[in-house]
Amino acid sequence: MEKTAGMRTRKPINWSDMTFSVVNYTLLTILLIITIYPFYYIFIYSISDSFQAQSGVFLWPAGFSLESYRATLQLNGLQEAAVVSVLRTIVGTILTVLCCSFFAYLITKREMPLRKLIYRFVLITMYFNAGFIPWYLTMKAYGLQNNFLLYVLPTALSGFNIILIKTFIEQLPPALEESAKIDGAGYFTIFTRVIFPLSTPIIATIAVFAALGQWNTWFDNFFLVENPNLQTLQLVLYNFLNQSNSISSMSAAEMTNSAEVRTMTPQSIQMTITMLVTLPIVVVYPMLQRFFVKGIMMGAVKG
């Protein structure tokens, strides 16, 4: 028999390796099912008929109905709210990334005046939170009520992000900066041409977290924004869910005598909203995932 390049020699069966593989695969499969099943459940519940789904859904949808999707997607103001949410995610993320990274870079420069003091101030905000009322009063005082800037300005600086980027920048070889300085570059040029491009992994990580945060936040909208042109997707959906909950828990005194037919239950609306809100994230995340891996890998190698 000729041995070609593509042919492998037979290896003897290694039982311990085999056992390890079997156990490994089994455990990971179980983990996979546990992780994916809740999401799958939400998906099949949302496409089930609302009332049949109440008796329980397991592997397959109970009946089939896109009624809850139709009702949710036809909500008044949903498209405008979606646009606002997308805008705030994009603008907010860009702002957060730029501000946090530049701030972190400045903090790494020893020659910056009051460096330690400013850094500690920022750190304190990570641990202490004044609560709702001071936050509300501060936002009002800055004139951020009913203003788009409310969505993007307060989150522009975050202690946690700054620490991450600062630590990352400090790991970069100082020779890079020094050589740029010798070539006559100022701080800003060094930041934009040298530091920022090198920090891509950590920047991407922060960008993803910031984007997720922006996409999911609704309470700043709830407390401070009444302008119908500035409602976010999350709040519109939250209001819709509250309405359906309040209808289903109407007291006897408020019920009319006519047989009002409910076409959906609050649970199926909840499931539909969850699907609509997480779907964009599920689509975008895998594309950005490679930055995480790269970032972690780089850290590991350097360490």
Binding site: Q54, F132, L137, G143, F222, Q243, I247, N257, Q267
Partner: protein
């Protein structure tokens, strides 16, 4: 070079975004004028008033152009917009001090903060100029508000909605009580039911004839759901025990017409023990759904919709069975049996926890007063309940009558009905539906006249009413109460003066402090577990023994401490309200 260009382009893009958006929101700010929370006037002089409501999930804002909203614009010159707030947001807005034009809140909870913090204004001056209808329709409430809801200032700050000083002459259809499959009950010959044992016998008869549904699912005599706390043990038996639940604690009840509170766990004849007896016997007779002790409300509703129960606690608890089959004459109706019907009662000070006040920062307090006057007027209340004169109802022979189209629209429900805005938010209507308009001697809510109730009945309700020689289910109860066969919440009021009625209805029930709340929670958990043991007792002797053990256990766990506290506080509250004990 390309990268530099890209970076510059990105920066330019970002900047232009922010400038555009700030400009956008800046521009929008001018049209809705909301650097503050209050409303504005548009070019036609229509003022948008913003109302802070202490609840979420309202749907008033979903229909800003409803027929009713347009009528309010026409009659009062205002548009109403809700600002929803949960407890957190409420506290935040109160702290911020900049409230919407009108505030709807509970004066006992927020009154001190609002009045002492000078966040709302007294309405006395405005009342003279713009509040004629209020003075005409609800003078006693104005006085009550001055005396009790003004932090001792004797000024008018709060006006509640849904005020109804006299018992309603028209009976609404019952919704809570022994709710049985009417078609089955009729088939069994509508035997009399004067006790829970009678009820069980009827269930047994029906169960023998109807063991399964058409789809082959098993039919159970009775069942319950376990995720509303002790609800299935303390609410559904008022029809025979005549004890009503009180708001401040699930563990206490008040017998009809009496001025005392009983602890449902330690009093041997309470709702709780009657429930234990009933469910235990049902279990032993094979009538109890095996899932009754573990099921959640959702599952209960699903089974009810599938027709798997003969008896339930309320019409709204039977899933969508009635919605599907009422037109075929099949479905669940509350039987007019036992001792008491869950109906009647008065609200001399309305739904006080949703009272309206005018905020200090409102730029249009006169318009706010005009609006509050409108909703408390007979004309305004009639419009909000029944629709617009000429469109939804017409005057015929001096009496207002709903048009057939309006009644049909309500019965069919759905989007067309909601778009009219009729009775969209009951909290927005100052007078109760059964308040009689003195000009035409008809209730302001035309849907609660006898003709309208009869016309909007489903086939099931018509069949039910016909059997009892009436034209709609509420009338059945009304006749029985008049004949003395049934009592209801109006019965004790019959021999009281108007002043005494107000006193009865304004007793502030005692509230438990934190320590007692913990004790109450522990007792409730114990009660739920005990219920399972009690209901599964195998024989009468076991039941009796278990009952004595359980009561001893409740006492050992501190039930008497709660009883002591609440009865003492209740006596004090009765004295404060001026009720003779």
């Amino acid at each position: 070079m390309r990268r530099k260009g890209k970076g510059r382009a990105a920066a330019a893009l970002l900047l232009s975004f922010m400038v555009t958006l700030t400009a956008c929101s800046g521009g929008a700010e001018n049209t809705t004028g909301n650097a503050s929370q209050t409303g504005t006037a548009d070019k036609n002089g229509i003022v948008t008033l913003r109302v802070l409501v202490n609840e979420t999930g309202t749907n008033w804002n979903t229909y800003p152009d409803s027929d009713i909203a347009k009528e309010i614009e026409k009659k009062v010159g205002v548009k109403i917009e809700y600002v929803e707030a949960d407890a957190n947001k409420m506290n935040v807005l109160l702290a911020g001090g900049d409230l919407p034009d009108i505030v709807r809140a509970d004066p006992t909870q927020y009154g001190k903060q609002l009045i002492d913090g000078k966040l709302i204004i007294p309405m006395d001056d405005l009342l003279g100029k713009y509040g004629k209808d209020i003075q005409e329709s609800i003078p006693t409430v104005v006085d009550y508000s001055r005396d009790n809801w003004s932090e001792g200032q004797k000024k008018l700050y709060f006006l509640p909605p849904q005020i109804q000083a006299d018992p309603s002459p028209i009976y609404p259809n019952l919704t809570i009580g022994p709710t049985m499959r009417w078609d089955y009950y009729k088939e069994a010959g509508t035997p009399p039911i004067n006790s829970t044992d009678d009820l069980l016998n009827v269930l047994q008869q029906i169960s023998a004839k109807h063991p399964t549904t058409e789809e082959g699912k098993k039919i159970y005599g009775v069942s319950m759901w376990q995720d509303w706390g002790l609800w299935p043990y303390i609410i559904p038996f008022t029809w025979i025990t005549q004890q009503s639940a009180i708001g401040s604690s699930d563990l206490f009840a008040k017998p009809l017409g009496e001025h005392r509170l009983i602890n449902v766990l330690t009093d041997e004849n309470s709702n709780y023990w009657v429930a234990m007896d009933f469910y235990n016997k049902a279990y032993r007779m094979g009538l109890l759904d095996p899932d009754a002790l573990t099921m959640k409300n959702n599952d209960y509703m699903a089974k009810a919709t599938a027709g798997q129960f003969i008896l339930g606690p309320a019409t709204w608890a039977m899933g969508d069975y009635n919605a599907k089959y009422a037109k075929d004459g099949k479905g669940f109706m509350v039987l007019p049996v036992g001792k008491q019907a869950w109906s009647g009662g008065v609200r001399p000070v309305g739904w006080a926890d949703k009272s309206y006040a005018i905020s200090k920062s409102s730029k249009y307090p006169e318009k706010a007063m005009e609006f509050l006057n409108y909703i408390h007027s007979y004309e305004g209340a009639r419009t909000l309940y029944s629709g617009i004169e000429g469109t939804h109802w017409k005057m015929e022979n001096g009496k207002p009558q709903l048009t057939k189209e309006t009644i049909d629209m309500k019965v069919n429900g759905g989007d067309a009905w909601e778009r009219t805005g009729i009775a969209l938010d009951q909290n927005l209507i100052g007078l109760g539906g059964s308040v009689i308009d003195p000009k035409t001697k008809t209730p302001v809510n035309l849907f609660s006249t006898e003709e309208a109730m009869a016309a909007s009945s489903t086939a099931l309700e018509k069949d039910f009413s016909k059997h009892y020689e009436s034209s709609y289910p509420g009338e059945v109860v009304s006749k029985m109460v008049q004949e003395g066969k049934l009592q209801d919440e109006n019965t004790p009021l019959q021999n009281m003066t108007a002043e005494e009625i107000v006193q009865e209805n304004t007793v502030v029930l005692p509230v438990l402090n934190d320590d007692l709340l913990k004790l109450e929670t522990q007792l409730k958990e114990l009660a739920a577990r005990t219920a399972a043991t009690m209901i599964l007792s195998k024989a009468d002797e076991d039941f009796a023994a278990n009952k004595q053990d359980a009561i001893a256990a409740f006492k050992a766990a501190g039930a008497d401490q709660l009883t002591q506290f609440l009865t003492t506080e209740y006596s004090k509250a009765l004295q404060t309200a001026g009720v003779k004990q």
